[in-house]
């Protein structure tokens, strides 16, 4: 029973992580149709920023480091848009995708050259690993924090999208970007907002990635973003709800296969997960919550 609950919690926290990142990708895509493959580097920047501040000040407090990480991620994300993606803003999707690939390589190389390929160990503070006894189950404090943080972030996002002007503009832009300009809203502002939100999510996810990995290195964002991308497409790329759903499902699948597979084929976990995702996509190419656009469909 405890094992079962433990695994559910695992799925929730891993899934939550993927959900945050998938959402970050989906928001940018829904507004300007760009697949932001440089997202992994936004995560890495957050990681290195937090690590740098930690080393410089010796303060390991999450209260200081989390805002640092988030700020770094937001800054990086917005800067990326301005410098690298604006020139290809109106280019076809494939161009943008490949530009993002290229940008991610450039930034990663910066880290490699300037910092090191070797990862820097980041010991998780003792108190985070603490186990809380809830009676029927004992869970790690960090999992509670992670799940709560994810939930709060998602609620915050829903609030921004539904109750603020810029959120409204973003939702409209996802539908018809040019029309948003034709009601007098500044295109750059809307896009920058989308990237800022995306950066916020990356910064938040970064701290949990580091906690789990125990280290920062230039490649730390690559695998999570890959998974996040798969999760977002699974949910229906561009659909925000779909991204969250896809993230949790992917997390659940990973934990499921991890648990289910006998130890000698446990290494094949990724293959199983990707195979299952492929089957789902073949069955429903638009993703679980995406809408199928047939040619000639009225845009309603």
């Amino acid at each position: 029973m405890e094992y079962f609950t433990q695994q559910i919690l695992n799925a929730l926290s891993i899934g939550g992580n993927y959900a945050l990142l998938a959402l970050g990708l989906a928001i940018v895509f829904s507004v300007i149709g760009l697949v932001n493959f440089a997202y992994g580097e936004v995560i890495a920047v957050a990681g290195y920023a937090m690590f740098g501040v930690y080393v410089a000040t010796g303060i390991g407090s999450a209260l200081l480091l989390l805002p640092v990480g988030i700020l770094a991620a937001v800054g990086m994300s917005v800067a990326l848009e301005k410098v690298a993606f604006r020139p290809v803003r109106y280019a076809p999707a494939a161009t943008g995708l490949l530009t993002a690939f290229g940008v991610s390589m450039v930034i990663r190389s910066f880290f490699i050259t300037l910092v090191a390929t070797r990862s820097k160990a980041v010991p998780m503070p003792e108190w985070l690993g603490q186990r809380i006894d809830l009676g029927f189950v004992r869970i790690q404090l960090i999992q509670i924090i992670e799940t709560t943080a994810t939930a709060v972030a998602l609620l915050l996002l829903v609030f921004i999208l539904r109750r603020t002007n810029i959120g409204l503009a973003m939702r409209a832009a996802a539908r018809d970007f040019d029309m948003v300009r034709m009601v007098g809203i500044n295109a750059n502002k809307v896009i920058a907002a989308a990237f800022a939100v995306s950066g916020f999510l990356a910064g938040l996810a970064a701290i949990f990635i580091i906690a789990r990995r125990g280290a920062v290195d230039p490649f730390m964002g690559f695998a999570p973003v890959l998974k996040a991308f798969v999760a977002a497409v699974l949910g229906g790329f561009g659909s925000l709800g779909g991204a969250v759903l896809g993230g949790f499902i992917l997390g659940a699948l990973e934990v499921f296969f991890q648990v289910l597979l006998p130890s000698d084929i446990a290494g094949y976990r990724d293959a199983f997960v990707f195979a299952l995702v492929s089957i789902i996509l073949v069955w429903r190419p638009q993703g679980l919550m995406g809408t199928r656009h047939q040619f000639g469909d009225k845009d309603e």
Binding site: V35, A84, P87, V88, A91, P92, A93, A94, T95, G96, L97, L98, T99, F101, G102, V103, S104, M105, V106, I107, R108, S109, F110, I112, T113, A116, T117, R118, F222, L226, F229, V230, V233, F237, I265, G267, Y268, R269, D270, A271, F274, A275, V277, S278, L281, V282, P285, Q286, G287, F295
Partner: protein, 339 residues
Amino acid sequence: MTDTLRSLRGAAFVALLPVLIAVLVIAFGTGAHERIFNLFLINMILVIGLQMFMGNSSIVNLGHIGFMGIAGYTAAILTIPVQIKAKIIPNAPFGLATFQLGPVEAGIVAILVTMVFALLVGVLIVRESGISATILTLAFLVIVHTVVANWVELTRGMRALYGVPMTVNKWILLAAVIAAIFFARWFRDSPIGLQLRASGESAIAAESSGVNVRLLRLVAWVLSAAVVGLGGVFYVYLIGSVSPKSFYFDTTLLTLAMLILGGMSSISGAVAGTVVVTAGFELTRYFESGPVMFGVKLPEFLGLTGFFLGLIIVLSMILRPKGITGTDEVDERWFRHKM
């Protein structure tokens, strides 16, 4: 001049470049240059293979190196001498440890195996378009990599399979490159290739004119896989050993960068891109040969080279999204001017 002759002339035109480079390398190059040249030729085969699919459909393909892996491992396992296999993969399934094949037979088997896989996977992939298709190709790459890295009895897992007889040299590779150029060009100008390119512009138009886009794409996919597979076979024959890392994201991004920079619509693009990226890459590596030694195993891209590669992609996309050569084959434009 008939269309076929025009294609032949075009292919010959494009093939001049690698031949020219070969001449230079033979005349002035050292052993080190020859090594670089051989890898360069293999990369060119890979990129040409990639072009055969990406140039004829509008899908971003991230999985082609999976075929390189399948073919490479198949050829390696088949050709490694039995004595060595007994040591490194004694428990290989299908009795593979008990016999060995010559390089030619093994190569043919490897490519056939690759084509079978391509057919099975391709049937699923060509039904999709856009992002979904790309994810499926990505899934393919990851699955191949995971299986190869974990099936220890067959592949020795993450450790290198060594002992592959090194049976290729620059002449064989050059001949293969020329053959690949002609083959890809023939395909591009064939009725299938033409229809594919036309339907790439408008899926509705294609479907309504009765063209079975999926079937054509499948053909392109399988043929593309075969060529990439050939590159994989030659790779293991050249290096003499193989490990999963050679067939994952680094090679994927490298070949993708080469094709994008050169121009994915044409074989000229594939060739040009390979030349420019290799040249730039080697130049950067020369400057990068720095003193910093890491105690850990180096990733294939180290700092400057990755930076350079990424920069190429970004600048290409911003300044010249259609690549150096644009949409047409080089000879098509050249001879058009002459008329």
